[in-house]
């Protein structure tokens, strides 16, 4: 008892203690809002408002020449879209293009990363060369490939000519249009996959590889036990990004084929552009855009559901 009294503070009632004024504390409370403020304003002006306006537009019949002069038509744009085979063709093209681009880009980029993670002479130079396509502007890429695929004097036809195959219309033959667009896109985006996966590979502690050597694991076992579990989250994120970017990709497709041949590469985004500027139907274009947005959101939702399941499994 006596010990306790001797170390207890002077008797001050609890309700007499007040917080000392602190500018630091004040700043701590408001600083998060100050920091995210500009980004929020930017997002509202350039993302939220246009999206809302776009959705509004999709309920109207608006000619391109008088963007303000639309007349409300309710759900007509949507009902016409959902009953038109052209829309489903466009949706199919989007899914085919996205799936093919993502699968090849991730597979080739991931494979390149695995190869470049090995130590060999000239690795830095090879890495730089492989990264190059990412640095080339998209329009330039499309132009380069439109020359490569050119029917009369393109490089590709020169090559297949040597092989004894006749000249092909790579960009005008419905058999090849989608393949040509996918090839170009993969060439362009694969380096990003490679860089991201490579960075992830390089963060794997070397002791883990040494542990598998001590345990006598072969290349496949090592990949499954060490490499894949480490890079899987990165691969998942890069796959998500690639998917969303592919759904949204415009320049490469439009510059190479303009959505043709015979609408075979008429993805939703290209379709939006054509409805808006060729058919001059802003309302219908906006409806396609809104449905495309739903598709992107769907992909994101699926991704986050998978992530949550994985996290639950980890715990």
């Amino acid at each position: 008892m006596s010990l306790r009294t001797s170390i207890s503070p002077p008797a001050v009632a609890q309700n007499q203690i007040q917080d000392a004024p602190s500018r630091h504390h004040m700043w701590q409370r408001i600083s998060p809002y100050v920091y995210i403020g500009p980004a929020v304003i930017y997002l509202i002006i350039f993302m939220i408002i246009p999206v809302v306006q776009g959705v509004q537009l999709s309920f109207t019949k608006t000619p391109l020449v008088r963007p303000d002069g639309g007349t409300g038509v309710g759900l007509e744009n949507y009902s016409r879209l959902l009953s038109s085979p052209q829309f489903y063709n466009s949706l199919g093209a989007t899914i085919l293009y996205t799936a093919a681009t993502v699968i090849f880009a991730v597979a080739i980029g991931g494979g390149a990363a695995l190869l470049l993670n090995q130590a060999f002479k000239g690795r830095t130079i090879v890495r730089a060369i492989i990264t190059l396509p990412w640095a080339v502007p998209t329009v330039a890429t499309a132009l380069i490939f439109s020359w490569i695929f050119n029917r009369s004097d393109g490089v590709l036809n020169e090559v297949v000519g040597v092989l004894g195959v006749g000249q092909q219309g790579w960009l005008v033959d419905p058999k090849f249009g989608m393949a040509a667009v996918v090839l170009t896109s993969v060439w362009k985006v694969m380096p990003l996959v490679m860089l991201v996966v490579l960075a992830s590979l390089q963060s794997i502690p070397s002791e883990l590889y040494e542990a598998t050597r001590m345990d006598g694991a072969g290349a496949l076992e090592t990949f499954k036990a060490v490499t894949w579990p480490h890079i899987a989250p990165t691969v998942r994120v890069v796959t998500l990004l690639m998917t969303i970017w592919s759904i949204r990709r415009f320049e490469i497709i439009y510059l190479l084929t303009g959505g043709g041949p015979v609408d075979s590469t008429n993805t939703l985004v290209v379709n939006v552009y054509r409805q808006a500027f060729s058919n001059q139907e802003l309302g219908r274009a906006a409806a396609i855009g809104a449905l495309g947005l739903v598709l992107s959101l769907l992909v994101t939702v699926v991704y986050f559901m998978l992530e949550r399941r994985n996290a639950a499994k980890e715990a």
Partner: protein
């Protein structure tokens, strides 16, 4: 049971020589500690024994077989890493079972779907699950079996790593600073654990550390490395009592051995007016010799007229059970303290507490029979065999 011979091992990385002509024999069942400061080449040496790194030249011999060309797995040794190197996505149980399950895996088992079934079947198999259970029990890991390494503390992780090494029943255990990432209390605990495992298995242990306490408490043999060269290979007791050179004398012991510059007079090493007994079997002629005395072989008293080295108390470190007293010797003695010790104080260990205070004048008394003597030019112990080859006559300085 494996006897390990290392013959003329050298390792260079580019122009940097990490290990220089290292040779050693390690008897079966020995607990050898490779002790050295960072950059001494000790980890590289361990990795060469394991087969994780190739030597630039020299042979690694297990019993009578040269294993230079064998893979780590073929050498049948286990390696415990400083950073544990557990497989983060596998449970504790699967981490431990991993080496055994690997042995059973065939190429076609990797086909997706089949691999999952195969892993279940092997993991649940009687021999593997029994061995995992046995090893887990040995290291108190039972209750963590279903957890992943991310959910374990450092000490628990290192136990899992030890279990993974144990389960293969290898011929030799190689441990690379396994306790360095742990706090002091856990380190002491796991030290005991590792010594127990050594006794239990009777296998050869090679243990790399920079911590002299680990070396002294665990080893049956210690090799002290410095700049890729062996300084001394002996038992812990011998290394402590008879350091082969001044590097070892200063590396082992906390505080380390006090080195003093002694003048040779009439064949006797002399500190100030204190004549020390001549080292056994060595005739000294003029010049100087370095005398070394451990802190516990010195006493200090406030009596300034006594027979000993005069000085001034500068530091007092009370450790509870005993007290370390740092005394600055009288500069007139010319003991060359700074150059020999990188410390200007002579440290004395005294049981219990002292009555001295910093600033007091004092006298240091020596238990001179425990003194070691080193060549003041080469730093080599005069009593060690390499140095007596010069007909027992010391090559003198000055």
């Amino acid at each position: 049971m494996t006897k390990l011979s290392l013959r003329n091992i050298s390792k260079r990385f580019g122009d940097t020589r990490v290990i220089d002509d290292f040779s050693a024999e390690v008897d079966s069942g020995e607990f050898l500690v490779l002790l050295g400061a960072s950059g001494s080449g000790k980890s590289t040496l361990l990795r060469i024994i394991a087969g994780l790194t190739d030597a630039s030249s020299g042979d690694v011999i297990f019993d009578n077989l040269r294993v230079n060309r064998q893979s780590p797995r073929e050498r049948d040794v286990a390696f415990v890493f400083q950073s544990y190197a557990l497989y983060p996505h596998l449970t504790v149980r699967d981490n431990i079972a991993f080496p055994l399950a690997l042995d059973k895996f065939k190429g076609w088992h990797h086909i997706p779907g089949i691999s999952m079934v195969a892993r279940r079947v092997f993991g649940a198999g009687k021999d593997i699950s029994e061995r995992v259970a046995k090893v887990s029990a040995m290291l108190d890991l039972d209750e963590y079996a279903a957890r992943k390494p991310g959910g374990l503390s450092g000490g628990q992780r290192q136990r899992v790593a030890l279990a993974r090494a144990l389960i293969r029943n290898p011929s030799m255990f190689l441990l690379d600073e396994p306790l360095s990432n742990l706090d002091a209390k856990l380190r002491a605990e796991l030290r005991g654990e590792i010594v127990r495992l050594h006794r239990l298995t009777g296998k050869t242990f090679i243990y790399v550390t920079h911590d002299q306490v680990e070396a002294m408490t665990m080893a049956t043999q210690i090799v002290i490395l410095h700049n890729g060269e062996v300084q001394q290979h002996a038992t812990p007791q011998e290394i402590y009592a008879k350091p082969a050179n001044t590097y070892v004398a200063r590396f082992i012991g906390s505080p380390p051995m006090n080195l003093m510059n002694a003048t040779v007079e009439d064949g006797f090493p002399t500190l100030g007016n204190l004549r020390l007994p001549a080292p056994d079997g060595i005739r000294l002629q003029g010049g100087t010799v370095t005398a070394g005395l451990r802190p516990e072989h010195l006493t200090v008293s406030a009596d300034t007229g006594g027979r000993g080295l005069p000085g001034t108390v500068r530091r007092i470190e009370d450790l509870g059970a005993d007290t370390l007293i740092g005394v600055q010797p009288d500069p007139a003695l010319n003991l060359n303290m700074w150059e020999l010790n990188q410390d200007e104080l002579i440290w004395i260990r005294q049981e219990g507490q002292t009555r001295l205070f910093a600033g007091d004048a004092c006298t240091i008394e020596l238990e001179a029979q425990f003194a070691s003597y080193f060549n003041s030019r080469t730093g080599m112990n005069l009593a060690s065999s390499e140095q007596t080859s010069g007909a027992g006559v010391l090559p003198l300085r000055g």
